[in-house]
Amino acid sequence: MRVARGDEPIADLDPAEMTLLVDDAPRPIVSLIYSPVVVASNGRADPSRRDVVAGATRTGTPPARRVVLVVDRESLNASETGQLQTRAERFVAQLPGNVRIAVATLPLGSTLRFESDRSALLAALRTAFEGSARQGAGLEGIAGFGCIDEAASAGCGTQGIHPAIRAPEARAMNTPAEWLVRGKRTLTDLQWLFRTLAGGPPSDIVIMSGALPYQSALRVEIDRTLAMARTADVRVHAVELANIGRVSLPEGGPESPPPLSLDSLHELNDAAYGLPVETGGVQALGTVSGAAFFEQLAHELSSTYLLSFEPTDTDRDGRPHRIEIRSSRRPPLTIQARKTFIAYPSSPATPRTHSAPGEAPPPEAPLTTTSLTSRRPLSRTDAWVALARSHQAGARDRELIDVAQWNSGDLRNALNGLTALGRRVPTDTLNDALLRGALLHADVALLAPDLALQFQGFPEWGALHTVEATDGQAFGVSVVSAHWHLARALLDRVQPRPDEDPRVLRWYRGVGGTLLANRQFAAALPHLDDARRLFPRDRDINALCGLLHEALADAASQELPGDAKAAVGTSHSELRASRQYLSRAVETDPHDDEAQLHLGRVCHLLGDDEAAVAAVSSVMSRTRDARKRYIGELLTGAIHQATGRLDSARESFERAAGLYPMAQAPLVALSYIAREAGDRSESARYIEQLAALPPPAALERDDPWWHYQSAAVADHASVLETLRAELRDRSTQ
């Protein structure tokens, strides 16, 4: 945190005059260390430098500090960054020798390297700037640039764009796809940087850029980046070079149309501009030389304290908690600090297997990181087994966070060692570890999607992409977590054969149901393919396959952009696949009501109403469950309607309406068939009934049709939780 009064840094704070609030509740301060990274502005010696030399040990020893200078080479132009480069070089030259400095570029060029040789650092900085070449016409600072979906962001609408530049013209200067790809890569690189620095000494990251990503299509990546910045002990500072002056404007237009204001960017939830705000850093937008920015940064770094406290068990839930720091000193001081922190559950028995890239050493006394209890060297396999055993299935605990940060080399070593482990331990022990491991990696993918992408799989697996969509509308592209593949690879090693172990089947069923319930279809496809390979005749696996392909035939999947639904067939082919699997399910168990109902709908949509009737009738003849009867009546009505028996259709829909009087689907269906029959008055009467239903927020305004798909997978999904609970129980025995 930075403490100052006006421009004057405060160097003599005492913990007794400080108050720390976590989520508005006071907490004890463990230590308060004055830890300035002193910068001499304008080449003059900074008077507070002596404090560092002296150690500033009022309440503790200052730990090493790190500064990473990041040059975003694809949003800057070498020919335009002269002043910025000069300021940055001066900044580096003035940093004291105890500060460790690294230069990085976006896109990331090589491993992060902290240099102690200042001349080498300055050379690296020059090289970074000289290699910059902006992609696009430099319109990032104004609206219209790279807007795939203008409506999603105020920055992408006509609001905020200078009247002299028409939005289509601005858009034409850069293609949305280029911007999206570049923005995603920038964010991914920043995430890597945060992960690399996490757990080490406190770090200040200075990003020099022409534009940070801000766009709803990148919302998921931006959220991940913000989350990682919160968990890593880093402060992000950002300076954005003005580039608007280089836009050629029509005759008569003003010379310097304003870029988006910083305030407006802060208001955007979809903006990476939140990084400095979240981490308590410095930010400047639209600067030419960066002079004011580096001056402010110097002030910032010259009055920095490290305040530490011990998170409570309640804090360790993996979620952001608010921090507020106050001082009782008068006149009041300005205190600038990070606004949130995230802590994870500790597990004293677990050996830590930190494998972060770069040179990140174990933390000395970081703000929220717990200390290690064991440093016994373990093989990767042993460490992995220990984590799998200690993991509380279904919890985002420390073991989960730890294994999520293993890289592919670590995980390959762990996998390779399993064969040897199998020779050392009884089969039951091995199988237990494999099942726990599969659950652990499933939990990583399900509960820590922000971390799960660190492991991108082995080259031989390939990468599987998924479209992230809401309300049927795609807003981003991501990669299916390789932890799913890894989990299945683990279960393939179950002895004597995975298809003979009922727990493996339950894992496949539970995970499959969960993925369908979450509508994670891209992950569900390979999962259920593997499940079918192992259990080709299993009722539940076939039912899940049928439900998946039925969902893929729906508009929400079919309307995705062409490239995005490469793995999805046409609606007809998906329905045919669905029918095939659902038929297998009901052959195995004709009393599987959900499979029969869905088979009935799929057959109806394929035009085979005879088969549809047989499937639906089999359920209607035996079930007394109101929801199933309701769905059955709707489907029966639809089948009658398709075959021209409108009177029978009306009777079925009316029975459905009788079962759920507040449901919408029967009223719409009845209105439709009345209209088909030429009775517009009757059609209108049902719409009047619809108009009389309670408002959408009312609890009674429910329609089982809205839950048609989720209800069918609920039982399957619950199997995963049962399996987790069993393992948790056995762990405590």
């Binding site: 006509t158 939005a167 049927g472 959408p696 049709w705």
Partner: protein
Amino acid sequence: MTRGCQLVMPLLWAVLCFSLRAAQAPTFASRTNAVRVDVLVTSSDRPVMGLGTDAFEVRDNGVLQRVELVSFDQIPLNLVLTLDVSASVSGERMAHLRQAATGVLRDLRPADRAALVTFSNAVVVHGKLTRDFAAVDTAMSRVQPEGRTALLDAVHAALVVGEADAGRPLVLVFSDGVDTASWLTPGELLRTTRRSDAVIYGVTARGAATLLRDLGRATGGNVLHAAATTDLQTVFRSMLDEFRHRYLVSYTPTGVTSTGWHTIAVKVKAPGRVHVEARPGYLGEPR
């Protein structure tokens, strides 16, 4: 039921019927034996005005029909705002949508009527067609975005609401998502439109373009993409303006069977090159 009044005959008759109905409690039912076709005639993207009955040549299943009425910008509108208020329309999008609705309601004339249908997974019909535009505006101001998208069911309801009274039904649909909750299928909704005189104008900020385009084509309407929700107000008002520049052409079919699909071909005799937009046909209803 005032079935006779809904025959579109001379304009005076239609306006008289309209006036009579204004004093009655409106219902959601309507029926026409005459066929009404809204026709947009443009030249160089500008509406061509001043055409008379003689300028229109209408064929029903290839049989030349006697055009009985051509009106232009005279018959009141039945505007049904059919607006997506699912979860994806939250925050400033919702504010822009409310502003757009307010704007288009302000552009209505005193004789016009309006109704509001909003939809998430739940379709909400906020009352019948009314001349109390402030009430419609107020209803819109109270809507909160949530849930999934039942676009198909909502458009069906809007068509029924829009036909509840004399006047030219215009269904203005805004959606930014893909249907995820309807009972009706796209094919069923298209059949509904083919039995309707309503013209559907679709506005999409993203998504739903395919369905809205099909609905526009089927009804002789149009679909526009709003580059941003900030543009919605402009787009809504431009659609209303375009609709007011349409000719309402009507004829009582002769020489053709009443049921089944009827292809409508409209030709316009006017100087220069003109572009004609009208619905491609209609489904005759059993009598």
